[in-house]
């Protein structure tokens, strides 16, 4: 829990600056009276031009809910907190912190996995690809990219990427760095 608090103090001022003005009246770092809705997120202009914007917005909202409270908001943001040296060594047996490597990866994985079956199917991959590449790439080319991607990652031959396979295929990538943001400078 204390890790969450740490995250609060690290993030809150920035978080409030954006979502506050009229939405949030933050009396205290940990209490929020108003809860931002999906539309509030969608109103952020930069998100509208982010190819994965909607997916990321969805990631902030718990299943089936249309609002997020400050705690939930922070919980999502905590995924992006950098891993610090002293955290690496301690509490191996404790609960995994939200900003662990596998949690960071899982956050990304969930963006692909729409139907929540813990597998990225070809269709799901294609959807994300379509969002991320320009219109210049034809469907056909995209399809072969998707095929190739799955073939590359697929180990058990089910033509889908499971989370284990997802982790495996990214094991050489410095996820700790590439999925972290320093919120305070």
């Amino acid at each position: 829990m204390c890790r969450m608090f740490q995250c609060y103090t690290e993030v809150n001022c920035d978080a409030c600056r954006c979502l506050t003005d009229e939405l949030f009246v933050v009396e205290h770092a940990r209490t929020a009276i108003l809860q931002p809705t999906r539309e509030d997120f969608q109103r952020i202009p930069e998100l509208a031009i982010n190819p994965l914007g909607d997916r990321i917005i969805n990631a902030f909202f718990p299943e089936g809910e249309d609002q997020v409270n400050f705690r939930g908001f922070m919980r999502t943001l905590a995924h992006f907190r950098p891993i610090e040296d002293n955290e690496k060594s301690k509490d191996q047996n404790g609960p995994e912190p939200l900003n662990s490597r596998s949690n960071k990866l899982h956050f990304a994985f969930r963006l692909y996995d729409l139907d929540k079956d813990d597998k990225i199917s070809r269709d799901e991959l294609l959807q994300v690809l379509r969002m991320m590449v320009g219109v210049n790439i034809s469907d056909e080319q995209l399809g072969s990219i998707a095929d190739r991607t799955i073939q590359e990652a697929d180990q058990d031959g089910d033509c889908a990427i499971s989370f284990a396979e997802f982790v495996k295929v990214l094991e050489k990538v410095d996820v700790e760095q590439k999925m972290s943001i320093r919120f305070l400078h």
Partner: protein, 852 residues
Amino acid sequence: MVAGQPSEVLCPCAPLADAHILPSLLVFHLSRKVTSVVPESCLLILLGLGLGGIVLAVAKKPKYQLEPNMFFLFLLPPIVLDSGYFMPSRLFFDNIGAILTYAVVGTLWNSFTTGTALWGLHQAGLMADPGVEAGLMDFLLFGSLISAVDPVAVLAVFEEVHVNETLFIIVFGESLLNDAVTVVLYKVFNSFVELGPAHIHATDYVKGVASFFLVSLGGTAVGLLFAFLLALITRFTKRVRIIEPLFVFLLAYVAYLAAEMVSLSAILAVTFCGICCKKYVEANISQKSRTTVKYTMKTLASSSETIIFMFLGMSAVDTSKWTWDTALVLGTLFFILLFRAVGVVLQTYVLNRFRLIPLDRIDQVVMSYGGLRGAVAFALVILLDEAKVKAKDYFVATTIVVVFFTVIVQGLTIKPLVTWLKVKRSDHHKPTLNEELHEHAFDHILAAVEDIVGHHGYHYWRDKWEQFDKKYLSQLLMRKSAYKLRDEIWDVYYKLNIRDAISFVDQGGHVLSAAKLALPSMPSRTSMSESSVTNLLRESGSGACLDLQVIDTVRSRRDKEDAAMHHVLRGSLYKPRRRYKASYSRHFISPDKQERQDKEIFRQNMKRRLETFKSTKHNVCSSKSKARLKEKGRKKEAGKEGIHPPYTPCVAAAPVLVTVSSDEEESDSSETEREDDEGIVFIARATDEVLQGKTTPGSLDVCPSPCIIPPSPTLAEKELPWKGDQADLAVYVSSETTKIVPVDMQKAWNQSISSLESIASPPGIETGAQHRRFARPMLEKQPQSASQATPEQISRFQFPSHISKSSRSKSDSSPEGVEQQELQPLMGTEEQGRGLPSAEHRRLAFSRASHI
């Protein structure tokens, strides 16, 4: 080469020296044992020392040394351009903060502390030699030139050490960017020394600081300007491909000269020119130009580097130029090491508060130890004016010792040190599509999260920049065609496919060498063959290659023979060898027609083979069933002459297939072998092996290989290559194919092969639980329907009432017409719009007739 002045006695020695350089490089590269321990730069310096000694012994006086002008105007630019152009820009800009800090603050710190400490040493009277006449300004001047980390030395040593990318980019980036600081400090102190300490006013200091910004920002601006120009020019060189590489070198060099002329930082100019233009230039110029640029740049850079180190060695022999002072030399060595270490630790301490991934102690040790000094320092110290800087000779000696010490001692020990400290090494692995894709996704995610939080951090600006680039810069600086096709994910995919294709050819294609593999500039043109590589690999995995060879040994010669025959047949289109006009132009390399033609054919062959291979893997059963169908069809045909093989509704195909037993397969395969001679080709061997290897054991007795039950389109597809073999060019689709594919499927067929595949074929049903769920019911049903319907269906597909009637009448009247109608759309997708020549029709019709 470097000996600019005419020398009476030793003129032959200059070429001699040059002649030694390249062979010596060769020798170094050959003797792996030596170079694995000793960096090349050390060996070169030692070699230079040796050569200098020989020259000295022969001529009785030293002759050659590194001339500063030569160095700055000709030797340094290629190295800097090379390092800028091939700089991993993402990594560079990710770490730009740290790099700039070390380059600016670090260099300032180093030069001031070293200068002051040496002056203190001098004041304390420790420098025994009374010849060292130098004040504070002289020592600061010396400090400024000795403290800068040298890009040439760093590159030479670090390239062989392979530390992780972050560490490398920080040290190397620092060595490049500190040039501005070095230049400014050197010039400022030089002028201060000239003026004399008494005449320096406060305004001079202010001017010094201001000139730093001017020199660094000005240099960068010049670089950016020329990068822009270069990108813009390469956009319009479509008709003069041959001078594209020239532009790259010319403009980069002009950038260097321009910056040098107005005494801005030339190194910064070239570095930024290289970094910034690369993206657009690479997109604009042709593949061949890209290769040319790459190799020329690397060659120039490495020969410059060689020459620099050689001449460093040779210059050291020149005893007349330097005077030794032990205290000064030892003091300098000690101070530069000490202050470098202290500076790195202090700066890292500050930087780590802002860095996402802090630099740990080991990194700091390597960074301190990797601060190599080199030729830049030497050239600068030679440039000093002896009249004004009295202690020049001492400084020269010290610089030589420092350079030798850092390059030889530190260069030799850094590798063991890195191993001993277990520094994270760089692992060079090939980029995978997954990594590329997911890293892109990560970037988007982070940018979005920053947006949500309202935190304008690195990703925010990166995102902004990319959008700006996409909207304006790329459109302005890139060719339309290049801009359209530019997508990083696609690029990686494309490269991977090329690589696969090459290895594919390496493993199997002994007739056609990999060297001939065309690297087409337009990815879209080869998308078909690419998708087949993909599918091929997806379906077969690594085992593919073995089978591939089997197929190839059977087929490849045939391919070639067919191709040759085809040449004869279609003399009008493909010219036979030796009939090309030789043409010459200085400005255009006319695309060799022979080459193009070979490429074309080769590409087609590749495509076909991939298709073939895929279909044999994919449709193991279908070839059997096909063979059976053939047999039956033939029997019927015997009865009913002139009637084509039956139109088979695709539903019928599957049940038939299920009932095939293993001995029937044997006979079938022998059957197919026999057919091999008749023009309808089946790969008997390949299929047999594949079948035995690949059938899923669980359901073996129900169905020979249910996992690869071919959906009808692929059944059709299977046919493609064989017919293609005969006719070499366009006739992938045989008459049988079109008949088996039902009408509605043909529509899908027409769209494209790959889309069809995605619709109809669940790729690789073998193990996937999900697919098995689908597959099971089908499999269970099929035997039933097969047992019930087989006789009926067989009779029916021999005479499919509704289709065959109409088409029979049609085909009787004009078989070619029907075929053309059915084939045309397929040809469209297969051959990218190439029409089916009428000769082909005739040939096709002919072969079928004979076959019947």
